[in-house]
C-alpha cells in the first residue's frame, strides 16, 4: 500500500505541500482509514497540478482519436468515363467496396490481384472493367463505351 502522504506530496503544488500534508497528518490521527483515504483522494483529484496533467492527457487522447478517425489510408474516389461514374473505396491500396452507376458492386464481382482490380461485368457488353493501381494510390483504366439505350 503506498504511503498516502508521499502520494499527496507528489501531486500537490510545492507551495501548498506543507499545509496540506500537515492537515492530512492531523486527520490521519483521528479519522477512520476509509475516511482518511477519501480525503487523500479528494485532495489529489482536486490538485491543480493533477488537473493540468489530466487536461494534457485528455488533449493527447483526443488528438489520437482524431488522427485515428481521420485515417489517411481510408479514402473514397469517384471516377468518370464515357459510360458514367464509378466509386472505389480504398483501405490503403486495397479496394474494399465499389459502386457502379450508383449501385453497389457485389463482393463476388470485385476481384483484386497484383495491382489490378477487376469489376466483373463492369464494362457492360465489353465484359470486365479492369482498373490498374499504381503504388502511389492513383489508378487508370480503359474508358468504357457510352451506354446505349435499347430502342423500343
Amino acid at each position: 500500500m503506498p504511503d498516502a502522504l508521499s502520494l499527496v506530496a507528489w501531486v500537490v503544488d510545492p507551495d501548498r505541500r506543507e499545509e496540506v500534508l500537515g492537515d492530512l497528518c492531523e486527520l490521519r490521527a483521528r479519522e477512520s482509514v476509509t475516511a482518511f483515504w477519501g480525503d487523500v483522494l479528494g485532495v489529489c483529484l482536486r490538485a491543480p497540478r493533477l488537473r493540468r496533467w489530466a487536461g494534457t492527457a485528455a488533449a493527447l487522447l483526443l488528438l489520437g482519436v482524431a488522427v485515428m478517425a481521420r485515417d489517411p489510408r481510408h479514402r473514397i474516389v469517384t471516377a468518370r468515363d464515357a459510360a458514367g461514374a464509378f466509386v472505389l473505396e480504398f483501405d490503403g491500396l486495397r479496394v474494399v467496396r465499389a459502386t457502379l452507376d450508383g449501385a453497389p458492386v457485389p463482393a463476388e464481382r470485385l476481384v483484386q490481384e497484383n495491382g489490378r482490380v477487376v469489376i466483373r461485368g463492369g464494362a457492360g457488353n465489353a465484359g470486365d472493367l479492369n482498373i490498374r493501381l499504381r503504388p502511389d494510390g492513383s489508378f487508370y483504366w480503359r474508358s468504357r463505351a457510352p451506354q446505349t439505350l435499347p430502342t423500343p
Binding site: 499545509e19 500537515g22 492537515d23 497528518c25 492531523e26 477519501g38 480525503d39 490538485a47
Partner: protein, 104 residues
C-alpha cells in the same frame, strides 16, 4: 463586488465564524458540523484557493505543531472584500425573501 457561488459563500461564512484562526481542516469541520454533510477536503482547498485569487480571503502561514508532524498551517482570514460580498449576498437574500408589496 465579486460574485460568489453557494459553496464559496459557505466557506467564507465558516472562515468568518472561526475568526481568523480557520485552516483547511477546521473550516471543513465547521462546514460538516453546520450542514450535517460530508464535505471533501479537496473541495475546501480548491474553494479557498479561488476565494484567495478573488481577494475575498487572505492567508498567512501559522506555527508548526507536533500533531501535524511539525508542519505549519495556512490560516485563512476573510478580507474586507469578502465580508462585503457576504453582506451583499445577505441583502439579496433578504430582498428576494421579503413578501411582495400588495398593490391596491
Amino acid at each position: 463586488m465579486s460574485r460568489i457561488g453557494a459553496f464559496e459563500e459557505l466557506v467564507l461564512l465558516a472562515a468568518l465564524g472561526l475568526d481568523g484562526s480557520g485552516y483547511g481542516v477546521s473550516i471543513r469541520d465547521e462546514l460538516e458540523a453546520e450542514t450535517g454533510e460530508t464535505i471533501s477536503l479537496g473541495a475546501v482547498y480548491a474553494t479557498l484557493d479561488r476565494l484567495e485569487r478573488k481577494g475575498l480571503v487572505r492567508s498567512t502561514i501559522g506555527l508548526a505543531t507536533a500533531e501535524r508532524g511539525g508542519r505549519r498551517k495556512r490560516i485563512y482570514r476573510v478580507s474586507a472584500a469578502g465580508a462585503a460580498s457576504l453582506r451583499a449576498m445577505q441583502r439579496i437574500r433578504t430582498q428576494l425573501g421579503a413578501p411582495a408589496p400588495v398593490r391596491t
